[in-house]
Amino acid sequence: MSAPIASSQAALVRELTGRRLSRFRSGDLLVLIAFLMLAAIVVCALIPATLAPHPPNQQEITMRLLPPTWMARGDSAHPLGTDQLGRDLLSRVIHGARISLIVGLSALIISGFIGVAIGLLAGYYRGWLDDWIMRLADVQLAIPYVLLAIAIIAVIGPSNLNVVLVLAVNGWVVYARLARGQALSLREQEFIQAYRALGARDWRIVLQHILPNLLSAVIVVASLELAGIITLESSLSFLGLGIQPPTVSWGYMLADGRTYQLGGAWWVVTFPGLAITATILSINVLGDWLRDVLDPRLKI
């Protein structure tokens, strides 16, 4: 690519985002790899049927527990092998991307939204609101999350939507505490005082000045939380409270295949596990990078 085009592209990026993506341009390999990996996973989530060689739930008992194709008994029709019911693992991993991402991200967004909103209010206004919210958070933290999840699912019944709700209920505390702590320290900052002295409205101060200032911390925590959510989803699926078959999720695959792993069929759990690891790792790397880019203080 010739230099003028590259620079006009950089200008375009600057135009679109309002920021200089200088780190990206300088060729940060790790970020690039993470980005490509996540892009691949998102593509899998978007068009699984096109990419997967087999339907995810197509069983073939005679072909059960086939190892990956490069091993001795491997079959080229099943590149990553098959599970205990002869279902193609590659197809299931590809299909699993959709539900895992949807569940993970929607739980993340719901809990983040609720948690940050509650934490902001508690931290900025203090008083009885703060006391009540934080005691509630303490109470929830005192209850093991699996117990809480079982209790909630027992009441509202297991379904894919309810899994999202349970995960969101579990997650809000982290954001609320983070946002409250940040809001508490930010409200004492001179610039908040200065804006009050310049006649800014309360909601404006909270939304325009406190929220953006704590957002970078929230983004980083959220990218770490996603790992926890996906793990939690797999524990719930393991207990039969999570994603309900025939829908495929990585967590469910892990839970479902764990007994066969002991019999030597390591691939049944390894590939969904790798998919989870790859997703979380790339999101963490991107989250870290995003924080640097979004923070004007770190920009030269």
């Binding site: 200065a194 804006y195 002295a197 310049l198 006649g199 004007p296 203080r297």
Partner: protein, 324 residues
């Protein structure tokens, strides 16, 4: 004799409840500010100067409480609704703070922050926001204002950031600007520029300024009148020249004596012995008595009141100093 005062503060009290009893940060503060006058509010740390001005803008946060009479341009501020008060802040009354580097939001460009003043006060805006914002910067003598709108606060020096703050304060064409130690965080050469700017603003826009400081040298340069505070009270108020020539309160005298002066040969600077009283356990009688070289029995039993001695001077002392 003169036009009516722009601001009249009477018997202002600010209290903060603490587990060990209530702290009276300002206790019966009274003073006046006339239009286009620069008044210095002087005193050591913790004497209640900042809290007094925060109360003027009704910005004391709960659990802090305040009471008293504040009349600004003939309107009783204590009776205004929160909405009316908000319109006043940043409009007819503005405030700037000690540390300009922390008084600007680090995540927004300077231009965005100035634009926000216009959003809080839509009536101020005339025409394009960016043009208006650039005009604000130009007014406080920032070179190349249009280009600087896109800069972030951390790219500015302390002096530049303080100019931006002053500009934002002036955007509402206030008749009163409260400057809380505006130069304390800046180095000396920049201090002079900022003080110069404040003086120019008064000349051009006829804005009255309350300058909070603990630096008497600054007040000597800039202020028309000085109000000296001690332990939450006004102890002396006087035109600058008279105050420096002949302080009447022993505390003011102590402050002046602890200041180095050109042309005066003195081996050591005087100091005021002791420390300001604990605001939760104030002494009976005069609050300065425990540190006062002139204190007598009466000072320890009877609290003095602020009395006028004519000629625009006020002093809170049983035994005020006479002209030297």
């Amino acid at each position: 004799m003169r036009e009516p005062p722009l601001l009249e503060v009477e018997d202002l009290r600010v209290e903060f409840p603490t587990p060990k009893g209530s702290v009276r940060a300002a206790d019966g503060v009274s003073f006046r500010v006339w239009p286009s006058e620069i008044v210095g509010l002087v005193g050591e740390s913790g004497c209640g100067k900042s809290v007094t001005t925060l109360a003027l803008m009704r910005l004391v946060r709960p659990p802090g409480r305040f009471s008293g009479r504040i009349v600004f341009k003939g309107r009783n501020l204590m009776a205004l609704s929160e909405h009316e008060m908000r319109l006043l802040r940043g409009g007819e009354m503005a405030m700037i703070f000690q540390n300009p580097m922390t008084a600007l939001d680090p995540v927004f460009t300077v231009g965005d922050q100035i634009a926000e003043v216009f959003q809080s006060h839509p009536q101020l805006r005339t025409g394009d926001v960016r043009t208006a914002a650039a005009a604000v910067l130009e007014q406080v003598r920032i070179p190349n204002p249009r280009a600087q709108l896109n800069a972030y606060p951390h790219q500015f020096s302390g002096g530049m950031a303080q100019r931006v703050m002053i500009g934002m304060g002036l955007a509402g064409r206030p008749s009163l600007l409260i400057a809380d130690e505006p130069t304390t965080a800046l180095d000396v050469s920049v201090q002079a520029q900022i003080l110069d700017l404040l003086r120019a603003i008064r000349e051009k826009l006829h804005t009255a300024v309350i300058l909070i400081t603990h630096d008497l040298a600054i007040t000597a340069q800039l202020c028309d009148r000085i109000v000296v505070m001690y332990a939450g009270q006004v102890v002396e108020a006087s035109p600058t020249r008279e105050l420096f020539r002949a302080p009447r309160h022993p505390y003011t005298r102590g402050l002046l004596d602890s200041m180095p002066r050109l042309g005066h040969k003195r081996a050591r600077l005087e100091q005021i012995p002791g420390q300001p009283p604990d605001l939760r356990a104030l002494p009976v009688g005069c609050r300065f008595a425990p540190r006062c070289p002139r204190a007598e029995e009466r000072c320890r039993t009877e609290e003095p009141v602020l009395v006028s001695s004519g000629d625009g001077r006020y002093v809170r002392c049983h035994f005020p100093l006479e002209a030297r």
